[in-house]
C-alpha cells in the first residue's frame, strides 16, 4: 500500500512538473514575456527594473528555475489590475468555486443514482427510454446555453430565483458560505443545477451500465436463490459493485467540474476563480491567468491522486495490478 501511494505521488509530481514546463513555455516562448508580465502602462524605468528582477535577461533554463523557485514559494507575480499577489486573489475566491462545485456534485449524485437504477433495472422499458434520451439531451445541452435558459425561465419570466451573485453568506464553524443562509441558498440553486446537469447524465449512464453488467452475475442469482429480497439485492449487493466505477469517475469529474465552473461562474456572475480567470483574460492580467492555471492543475492532480488511493482501498486489484 505504502509503495503504491509513494509511486502514485511521484507520478503526480512528475505531471505537475510537466504542466509547469508547458505553462512556462506558453508564456515565455510564444510571446514576449516582458510584454506579458509587465503592465502595459509601466514606465521604461519600471520596465527595466521588472526585467531585471524577473531575470528576463538570463538564459531560458535559468529563467525556468527562477520561475519554478518563485512558484514553489507561492510567488506567481502580482496582478496588474488589483496590484496584489495573484496567488492571494485565487485563494480568496477558491471557496466560492468549491462550494458551487460540491453542491453541483451532490445534486448530480442524489438525482443520478436513483434514475440510473430505475433505468438499469428495467432496460428497454418506456421509463428507460425516457431517462436515457434525457441523459443524451443532458450532455448535448451546451452548459452555457442551458444556464441562460435557467436564468430566462426562473429569473426573468417567473422571478423565483436571483440570477447573479452569491447572496448573503452565513458563518458556521468558522466557514463562510452561502449554504448557511436562505438568501445564499436561493442564489446557489440555479448555478448548481447548471453545473450539475452534465454530470447528472454521466452518473445516470454509469449507474445504468453498472446495474446491467452486475445483474446477470452469478452472485445475484445465488442471492435470489437464497431468498434475499429483491430490494436488499439491489441496494446492498449490486449497489456495492456499482460504487467502484462511480467513485473513480466522480473523482475525475470533480476536476472537470472545477474547470467547467468557469462557464457557470461567467453566466451567473458567481465570484469564484473561474470568473476571475475570464475577467483576467479580458483585462490581459496575465499573472492571474498563470496563477489560475497552475493552481487548478495542482488541484486537479491532487484530486486524481486522492481518487487513485481511494480506489485502491475499495478495490485491491488496482493496487496489485499497479505493483506488477
Amino acid at each position: 500500500m505504502t509503495v503504491f501511494v509513494i509511486r502514485r505521488f511521484l507520478q503526480s509530481i512528475a505531471v505537475l512538473c510537466v504542466t509547469a514546463v508547458i505553462v512556462f513555455i506558453g508564456i515565455y516562448a510564444i510571446g514576449d514575456p516582458a510584454e506579458m508580465l509587465i503592465s502595459p502602462d509601466a514606465s521604461p524605468a519600471e520596465r527595466a527594473q521588472v526585467v531585471a528582477s524577473l531575470g528576463l535577461d538570463k538564459p531560458l533554463w535559468e529563467q525556468f528555475f527562477t520561475f519554478a523557485w518563485n512558484a514553489l514559494h507561492g510567488d506567481l507575480g502580482r496582478s496588474f489590475v488589483f496590484n496584489r499577489p495573484s496567488i492571494a486573489l485565487i485563494f480568496e475566491r477558491l471557496p466560492a468555486t468549491l462550494e458551487l462545485t460540491l453542491t453541483g456534485l451532490v445534486f448530480a449524485l442524489v438525482l443520478g443514482i436513483p434514475l440510473g437504477l430505475l433505468s438499469g433495472l428495467k432496460p428497454n422499458s418506456a421509463t428507460d427510454e425516457v431517462i436515457m434520451t434525457g441523459s443524451i439531451l443532458g450532455f448535448s445541452l451546451p452548459s452555457f446555453w442551458q444556464g441562460m435558459m435557467l436564468i430566462m425561465i426562473f429569473s426573468v419570466w417567473l422571478g423565483w430565483l436571483p440570477s447573479t451573485g452569491r447572496g448573503q453568506m452565513g458563518e458556521f464553524l468558522g466557514i463562510h458560505s452561502s449554504l448557511f443562509t436562505l438568501d445564499g441558498l436561493t442564489h446557489l440553486i440555479l448555478p448548481a443545477i447548471n453545473l450539475s446537469l452534465f454530470k447528472l447524465s454521466l452518473v445516470i449512464r454509469l449507474t445504468r451500465t453498472g446495474v446491467r453488467e452486475t445483474m446477470p452475475l452469478d452472485f445475484v442469482k445465488f442471492a435470489r436463490a437464497k431468498g434475499i429480497s429483491e430490494r436488499r439485492i439491489v441496494f446492498v449487493h449490486v449497489f456495492k459493485n456499482i460504487l467502484i466505477p462511480l467513485i473513480t469517475v466522480i473523482g475525475l469529474e470533480l476536476g472537470s467540474m472545477l474547470a467547467f465552473a468557469v462557464v457557470t461562474e461567467t453566466i451567473f456572475a458567481w465570484p469564484g476563480i473561474g470568473k476571475l480567470l475570464i475577467d483576467s483574460i479580458m483585462r490581459l492580467d496575465r499573472p492571474v491567468v498563470v496563477a489560475y492555471l497552475l493552481v487548478i492543475v495542482s488541484l486537479f492532480i491532487f484530486i486524481n491522486f486522492v481518487v487513485d488511493v481511494l480506489y485502491s482501498l475499495v478495490d485491491p486489484r488496482v493496487r496489485l495490478g499497479g505493483a506488477q
Partner: protein, 299 residues
C-alpha cells in the same frame, strides 16, 4: 482496392444503416443531421441575405421580433439582431462555422490519433509506452481545461481554436485505435500478410485499419458533437472564435445581454439550433455505439 475490402466496407455500411433504421429515434436524428449538414454546405444559396454584407444591413431593422417585416418588404421570420441582421441568415452562417470547425478538427484529430494509435499498437515497446504516456496525460485533463489553458496563453483565433480542439481530441482516437489494433495484430490474417512479404505501412493501413473502423466511427461522431459544443462554449466565453467568424456560440453570446431585456430570439434560436445539432449527432452516435459494440449486442 481489392474486392474483398470493398465487400467488408459494404458490410460495415450495411450494418450501420440497418442499425439506425431499427430505431425510429435514430432515424429522425440522422435525417436532422443530414438536413443540417446540407443547409450548412449550400448555406449562401439558402439565406435571404448575406449577414456580413454591411450594405444590406439596415440599423433601423435592429432587434425586430420574429415574423416582422423590414422597410423593403422582407420578412424576418426569426427576427433580427442588434445590427439589424436577419437571424435566420446569421444562424445558417453560424452553423457553417460551427460544423466546419467541429468536423475539420474531428477529422484531423482522427487522422493523427489513428496513425499514432496504429504505430503504438504495431510496434509496441518503447514507442508504445511513450505514445500511451502522452495519451494518458492528455486524457487525464478535462477537455475544457486544456482548451482554456491553451487559448488563455495563445489568445483567440480560428486556427488556434482548431488547434486546441485537435489537441484535446486526438488522444481519444489514439487509445481506441490502439486497443482495437492490439486485438487485430495477433490474428492469423496479419501473420499471413507478413509471410507474404507485404510492407508494414500496407499491413497497417490496408489490413489492420479497416478492422478498427467500427469504434473509430462511433468515437468520431461523438467527438464531432463534443468539438462543436466545446467551440461554442469557448466562443461564448470570449476566448474562442473572433467576432469576424461568428459561430453559433458567438451568436448566442451576442444575444446574451439582450436576453434580460426580453429580446429572447437573438439568443434562443441559435441556441436551439446548436442544441438540435449536437443532440442529433449524439443520438446517432449513441445508436451506432449500441449497434457496433459486440459486448452489448442487439438487445
Amino acid at each position: 482496392m481489392n474486392a474483398r475490402a470493398l465487400f467488408a466496407e459494404d458490410m460495415l455500411l450495411g450494418r450501420l444503416v440497418f442499425g439506425i433504421s431499427r430505431s425510429p429515434k435514430a432515424v429522425v436524428a440522422a435525417v436532422v443531421c443530414i438536413i443540417l449538414l446540407f443547409a450548412a454546405v449550400i448555406g449562401p444559396y439558402l439565406t435571404p441575405q448575406n449577414p456580413f454584407d454591411l450594405a444590406v444591413l439596415d440599423i433601423l431593422d435592429s432587434k425586430l421580433p420574429p415574423g416582422s417585416q423590414s422597410m423593403d418588404g422582407m420578412n424576418y421570420w426569426l427576427g433580427t439582431d442588434g445590427q439589424g441582421r436577419d437571424m435566420f441568415s446569421a444562424m445558417i452562417y453560424g452553423l457553417r462555422t460551427s460544423l466546419g470547425v467541429g468536423v475539420f478538427s474531428g477529422i484531423v484529430a482522427l487522422l493523427v490519433g489513428t496513425v499514432l494509435g496504429l504505430i503504438a499498437a504495431y510496434f509496441g515497446g518503447r514507442i508504445d509506452t511513450l505514445i500511451m504516456r502522452v495519451v494518458d496525460l492528455m486524457l487525464g485533463f478535462p477537455t475544457i481545461l486544456v482548451a482554456l489553458m491553451l487559448l488563455a496563453l495563445l489568445g483567440q483565433g480560428l486556427w488556434k481554436v482548431i488547434f486546441a480542439l485537435i489537441l484535446v481530441q486526438w488522444a481519444t482516437f489514439a487509445r481506441a485505435v490502439r486497443s482495437a489494433a492490439l486485438v487485430e495484430k495477433n490474428k492469423d490474417y496479419v501473420e499471413a500478410a507478413v509471410t507474404l512479404g507485404i510492407g508494414t505501412p500496407r499491413i497497417l493501413i490496408g489490413h489492420i485499419l479497416p478492422n478498427c473502423l467500427p469504434p473509430l466511427i462511433v468515437i468520431g461522431m461523438l467527438q464531432v458533437a463534443n468539438a462543436i459544443s466545446a467551440e461554442a462554449t469557448l466562443s461564448f466565453l470570449g476566448i474562442g472564435l473572433p467576432i469576424t467568424e461568428p459561430s453559433l456560440g458567438l451568436l448566442i453570446a451576442n444575444g446574451y445581454q439582450l436576453l434580460m431585456s426580453g429580446e429572447y430570439w437573438i439568443s434562443v434560436y441559435p441556441g436551439v439550433l446548436l442544441l438540435v445539432l449536437v443532440f442529433s449527432i449524439n443520438i446517432v452516435g449513441d445508436r451506432l455505439r449500441e449497434v457496433l459494440n459486440p459486448r452489448l449486442g442487439e438487445r
